[in-house]
């Protein structure tokens, strides 16, 4: 197995006296689609917040390409090459789809405090935005306000924004939450397409999606990872079945 691009060692997080994450070790290798599953309240979202910089771990180490990112502010984590989406749609509702993606893309070109150029004349930015629009299949909706998109279109837009910085690792937090069956199928196809050659860490509740999409799965129960393996291995793992899949199947 190649060197992991994202690896966690002994990561812990407490809120007051309650420990939510109780010592996690996790390695994500380049190019894999890695899913984290677990019952409600297992700490999946907290884990994502720790990795993306929203929360600071109480103990332990998070390495992105060998560089410690635990406790780093979110904007710096992003610049190290880790981008994420959110469980609840997190876009710029009052701006057009094009503008949403442009804001996401500009950072990649270091365009932050630039007030001597016109945004509309930045050819490389516009070109990349058009490319992303095509990738997430929103070309025809470029001029529409993000708030006027359908729910699944908004999720697609957010995935596009996550891709904009060309990250080494993409974190998707329940991208299919609240979707109909058709929408889920559509989005799974989209994720499969856009994560080709990239590294993906995904939290998802829909087991069909998880088992068809991921190369490896980690099972998180009460703040600890009880098993990591291929879908087949996880399916056959007795502890997992007891702790989680058994409940879910009923």
């Amino acid at each position: 197995m190649s060197t992991p691009v994202l690896s966690l060692h002994g990561v812990r997080k407490s809120f007051g006296p309650i420990e939510i994450i109780r010592g996690i070790a996790l390695d994500v290798v380049p190019g894999e689609r890695h899913a984290v599953i677990g019952p409600n309240g297992a700490g999946k979202s907290t884990l994502f917040h720790l990795i993306s910089g929203q929360l600071t771990p109480t103990a332990g180490e998070i390495l992105l390409d060998g560089l410690p990112i635990g406790g780093m502010p979110p904007h710096l984590v992003n610049r190290q090459g880790l981008a994420r989406s959110f469980q609840i749609t997190n876009i710029f509702p009052g701006l057009s789809v094009f503008e949403n993606l442009r804001l996401a893309v500009m950072r990649r070109f270091g365009l932050e405090f630039v007030f001597w150029r016109r945004a509309s004349r930045l050819k490389a930015v516009t070109h990349l935005v058009d490319e992303l629009l095509a990738q997430v299949r929103l070309e025809k909706r470029a001029g529409v306000l993000a708030s006027e998109l359908s729910y699944s279109e908004q999720r697609s837009l957010e995935i596009g924004m996550t891709l904009a910085s060309d990250p080494k690792v993409i974190l998707l937090d329940e991208p299919m939450a609240g979707m109909s069956h058709e929408e889920t199928e559509y989005t799974v196809g989209l994720i499969r397409e856009i994560t080709k050659g990239r590294t993906l860490l995904i939290v998802e509740h829909d087991m069909d999606v998880v088992f068809s999409l991921s190369d490896r799965i980690s099972v998180l129960v009460y703040g600890q990872i009880i098993a990591t393996g291929t879908p087949a291995e996880i399916r056959g793992n007795l502890a997992v079945r007891e702790a989680y899949l058994g409940e879910e199947a009923s």
Partner: protein, 408 residues
């Protein structure tokens, strides 16, 4: 697009030609309107575009004004800062104070941000009377506009053109700002700061930058004010100015670029025209604000722009007649309301109380007519006018609204 450019050119031409036809009093009022317009635009960069409502913008306006007055006295209009370039001083000090204050204020968002800006402005306002050297105490500081570049700056027409030049320049710069990458990011700040952070942007630094730019242009507005009245007094730091820039901007509409400027110009003209006629003008201003917020939440210009976008100006006999009815009804309601307020104001004034000697109570004079305090006509007439006006307004607005069965 072409109509927009044409309208802008016409507006600028009208502003340039204005002093030729206006009385000196109106030229003075126009200078005030221009300054108010710039101040509101600077404020709205922060409030409308970045979504950060500052309740203490008088501080940066005041700092610009005092910096300019001190520069006028120090340089005497010669050397590095001749009179026409003095607004640079106001802008520079506005920028510096904006960086300092913005660094603290933008650490927080929403209500907490507003409270910090309010507290900082009140701090300065409370401190100012004690710093006689800087703010001149009760009397304030005065200075002289010195001649420069062949202009004497003695007449207010020359001051008008100087103000017009700076205001137009600043408005153009503020508009160009909205087109730049950082201008686009400013909108992102308003829409979703959290998302911006996870896209890799340092939102605190961005917030400080927007705050500082807004304070800089507010400082230029303050400088123009100081140049115009050749004085600065610490009352300029008062909460009232901070509040009026908020009201003016919202009346115009903070989300369209020229909304705040037009709102502020209209409201300062309203103040100029009405404050001489009645003591209740602040009440009218307040009522106007409440009505605009209730019925036109996007502001006057914002609402207008929205209707143009939606193409809701289709003319036809029925729509036209309903529109005329609407205006007439509005007139009725306004006349009734104004009568009511003015009568009440006169009957409750201390002047009137001193006129009462025994019974019957004497009448008051309004609109060339005598009104008795206990007559049915005195109160019935304005109330009746208002009732008729409001009834017709309701009818006319239903006719104008396609969603409620009106003509489209």
């Amino acid at each position: 697009m072409r109509t927009k450019v044409l309208l802008l050119v016409l507006a600028v031409a009208a502003l340039v030609a204005a002093p030729a036809v206006l009385s000196p009093g109106l030229v003075n009022a126009s200078i005030q309107m221009l300054i108010a317009a710039l101040f509101a635009s600077a404020f709205s960069l922060l409030c409308g575009q970045a979504g950060m409502l500052s309740f203490g913008h008088s501080a940066y306006f005041g700092i610009g004004a005092f910096a300019t007055i001190h520069a006028m006295n120090a340089f005497n209009g010669v050397g590095l800062l001749p009179t026409p370039l003095l607004p640079l001083m106001g802008g520079f000090m506005g920028l510096l104070s904006g960086i300092a204050a913005g660094w603290f204020a933008t650490k927080r968002t929403g209500v907490y941000f507003s409270m910090i800006t309010l507290a900082l402005a009140e701090l300065l306002h409370a401190l100012a009377p004690h710093l006689k050297e800087v703010f001149g105490g009760e009397a304030g500081i005065s200075a002289m506009r010195m001649p420069a570049w062949g202009f004497t700056f003695g007449s207010n027409v020359e001051v008008y053109y100087l103000t017009l030049f700076w205001v137009l320049l600043c408005l153009v710069l503020l508009y160009l700002y909205t087109l730049t990458p950082v201008g686009r990011l400013t909108l992102g700040l308003r829409e979703n700061t959290h998302r911006l952070r996870f896209l890799g942007y340092n939102v605190h630094r961005l917030g400080v930058l927007v705050f500082a730019v807004s304070a800089m242009f507010s400082g230029v507005a303050g400088a123009l004010q100081a140049l115009n009245i050749e004085a600065a007094n610490y009352v300029v730091l008062d909460m009232q100015l901070s509040a009026s820039v908020v009201l003016n901007s919202y009346i115009g509409g903070v989300k369209v670029f020229l909304g705040p400027a037009i709102g502020a110009a209209l409201m300062s003209f309203f103040g100029y025209a009405v404050s001489d006629l009645t003591r209740s003008w602040l009440l009218y201003q307040g009522v106007l604000f409440v009505l605009v917020m209730m019925f036109l939440p996007d502001g006057l210009v914002g609402e207008f722009a929205k209707r143009v976008r939606e193409g809701r100006f289709g003319l036809g006999w029925e729509r036209l007649s309903a529109g005329v009815l609407f205006v007439v009804a509005l007139g009725f309601a306004i006349v009734g309301f104004v009568c009511m307020v003015e009568l009440a104001q006169r009957f409750f004034s201390t002047d009137y109380r001193s006129m009462i000697v025994g019974t019957p109570w004497p009448p008051v004079t309004l609109f060339g007519r005598e009104w008795l305090p206990f007559s049915a006509v005195t109160w019935g007439l304005p109330l009746g006018l208002m009732a008729v006006g409001l009834g017709l307004l309701n009818f006319a607005s239903r006719r104008l609204d396609p969603e409620r069965g009106g003509v489209s």
